[in-house]
């Protein structure tokens, strides 16, 4: 895992947070993420996040569910095991629609949950780094990623000046946890001195 250095600023209200996000982006600091106790409308836009593509994935899973279930039932009831059910045709499409629909929904939702966990790097055996535990309670935690050129004391005082109630510097693991991730591994591990610009 890549360990990077982050400057963490905690805000106690969402109003100042919005202004802070805008100012951080304007100043050119690299905004890693913002952790909030509840979803905040419009924050994704303010942070400049792109739209999630999870619905595209959901659509593909749904298409997969529809086609696989329809073709499976067609094969079973017309080729493999044709039964006469109350004189209905073997290709009894109306009777299959509910099953197809349910399987479509099942594929879409299970697939989307798994995709969501994959995108957020969530799994039972993955230990995530918490920048501040109160982010799940009443603090709005903004995390700025340090690059080799970042002066973190400058970032810290900047965060304080835009309204952060609590500022600290943390080294945390980041990046992808299985397979490939960014090449600058162990970049800041064990380093506590200031990297000057």
């Amino acid at each position: 895992m890549a360990v990077k250095k982050f400057v963490v600023g905690c805000f106690d209200d969402e109003g100042p947070l919005f202004d802070a996000v805008k100012k951080v982006r304007k100043s050119g600091y690299k905004l890693h993420d913002v952790y909030t106790p509840f979803p905040i409308h419009g924050l994704d836009k303010a942070m400049g996040l792109r739209d999630t593509s999870i619905h595209t994935a959901g659509f593909l899973y749904a298409i997969f569910g529809t086609t696989s279930m329809l073709s499976f039932m067609t094969w079973v009831f017309t080729k493999d095991f044709p039964l006469n059910v109350g004189g209905k045709p073997h290709f009894a499409l109306p009777a299959w629609i509910p099953i197809t629909f349910e399987f479509t929904v099942l594929c879409a939702c299970v697939g989307m949950v798994i995709t969501f966990c994959y995108l957020c790097q969530l799994a039972p055996f993955v230990k995530k780094h918490h920048f501040h535990l109160r982010a799940t309670d009443d603090l709005f935690v903004m995390v700025i990623e340090c690059t080799p050129k970042t002066n973190e004391s400058e970032v810290s005082s900047f965060l304080t000046s835009i309204g952060a109630k609590e500022v600290n510097v943390q080294n945390a693991e980041t990046g992808w946890w299985l397979g490939t991730y960014d090449k600058d591994q162990k970049l800041f591990e064990g380093q506590s001195e200031t990297v000057s610009a």
Binding site: H41, G42, K45, D51, H55, F59, G86, G87, K88, P89, P94, A95, I97, P98
Partner: protein, 409 residues
């Protein structure tokens, strides 16, 4: 921001609404002489078209008031930025309700052989249903239904306008105001449930096939008209945006309207299919007779098959595939196109509901039906346009207005 509070009807809008109404009146006159005096069918072709168009457009404009009351009961705030649009649309219930009332009463008084339950003549099934299907109940219930829609709709609009010139002094009176709104909205919803969602489609439309019945029918009709009602609201909102009004309404609100059109298109399909599949599965002759003229099977070809599946495609497949993407629900052009398509699709749905029962042998759809529809569209344009000029376009003192302005989906 300087806002334009009052709508001034553009000359082109007025011309179009007048022209469409003219086309409608002309169609009715021509249609009367072509079909209305037909001895063989007792003028059923003429009256069926009037029934289809008047009931469809009445239920569509009435859905606007249902939308207001449902969002009021749910404490919804997002619609407040454009709430005066559905309010103005619901004003059209008055002229359309009067026309529909005249048509519906004419159907039992002149009796152009549309409702067979008028003459049971020893028919055991029709005599068994006569407690519900009789002229007295039909006329009283029709008058009550339309009358109460108008009265309760008027009350809801009054409540909304009451604040325009007297802002609420404090939060407590705001709570009282919201409570008063929910009380009247729930009365409307209850009456709506007793009429549009149950009895009225049975009485006005399903009784054409007096021997046949389906408990899904009213829900199906409601879904049809509600999705068209949302489409109509969307069209007017987009039109007003294009004319430079509704400054506080943006693509976030359009997105939510698009979601309504998308979701209720699926809901309509759900009911459509539930009704179809149960009848297909049970395969009881007295139930399957309904689909004889509508669907082609192995041993039988229905005249309305093409229309039936075409209507299904534009009411289900088109909204499903086109409105699914977030981007298309936020795009004014796509949303307007889909709104027009949905209204047309559900108009065709009503067409097959009535005509496939009355004239099962061949499709008679022609310019006359479109002419009558144009007349109703013109009337809706005219009365909604007039209603929009009467009140400020934004309910600026409503407690939820800020929530709507900063709305974000």
């Amino acid at each position: 921001m300087a806002i334009k509070e009052f709508f001034a009807i553009p000359a082109r809008y007025r011309t179009w609404s007048m022209a469409l109404m003219g086309v409608g009146i002309l169609s009715v006159i021509i249609g009367f002489f072509l079909y209305g005096t037909d001895e063989h069918h007792h003028g059923a072709r003429f009256w069926a078209s009037l029934l289809q168009n008047s009931v469809f457009f009445l239920l569509v404009v009435n859905a606007a008031m249902f939308f207001i009351c449902a969002t009021t009961l749910a404490f919804g705030g997002w619609q407040m930025a454009f709430r005066r649009i559905p309010e103005a649309i619901s004003v059209a219930v008055i002229p359309l309700g009067i026309i529909t009332l005249i048509v519906l009463i004419a159907l039992v008084v002149i009796d152009p052989h549309i409702f067979h339950w008028l003459h049971p003549h020893g028919d055991k099934i029709l005599e068994g249903k006569s407690a519900f299907l009789n002229i007295g109940f039909y006329i009283i219930w029709t008058i009550l239904a339309i009358g109460l829609w108008i009265v309760l709709g008027y009350k809801m609009r009054q409540l909304s306008r009451e604040l325009d010139n007297n802002p609420l002094p404090d939060a407590e009176s705001g709570r009282k105001y919201i409570f008063k709104n929910t009380v009247w909205a729930s009365i409307f919803i209850v009456w709506f449930a007793l009429t549009v969602m149950s009895t009225v489609p049975w009485l006005w439309l399903m009784s054409i096939d007096a021997h046949w019945y389906s408990t899904m029918y009213s829900w199906y009709t409601f879904a049809s008209t509600f999705v068209s009602g949302m489409a109509l609201i969307t069209i007017f909102v987009v039109y007003m945006k294009n004319q430079g009004y509704l400054e506080y309404t943006n693509e976030e609100h359009i997105h939510d309207l698009g979601k309504f059109m998308f979701a209720f298109s699926i809901f309509w399909t759900y009911l459509w299919f539930s009704q179809y599949m149960l009848i297909w599965y049970a395969n009881i002759p007295e139930e399957t007779v309904y689909f004889k003229s509508r669907v082609t099977s192995k041993n039988h070809s229905g005249a309305y098959t093409g229309l039936f599946w075409f209507m299904f495609c534009i009411n289900f497949l088109a909204p499903l595939l086109i409105l699914m993407r977030r981007g298309s629900k936020r795009n004014y052009t796509t949303v307007t196109f889909m709104a027009i398509l949905i209204i047309f699709g559900h108009w065709l749905d009503f067409y097959q509901m009535i005509f496939a029962s009355l004239f099962p042998d061949h499709v008679t759809l022609n310019l006359f039906d479109f002419g009558v529809a144009a007349g109703f569209v013109g009337l809706i344009m005219y009365s909604v346009g007039n209603a929009l000029t009467k009140a400020p376009l934004i309910a600026k003192n409503h407690p939820f207005i800020k929530e709507s302005i900063i709305h974000h989906t």
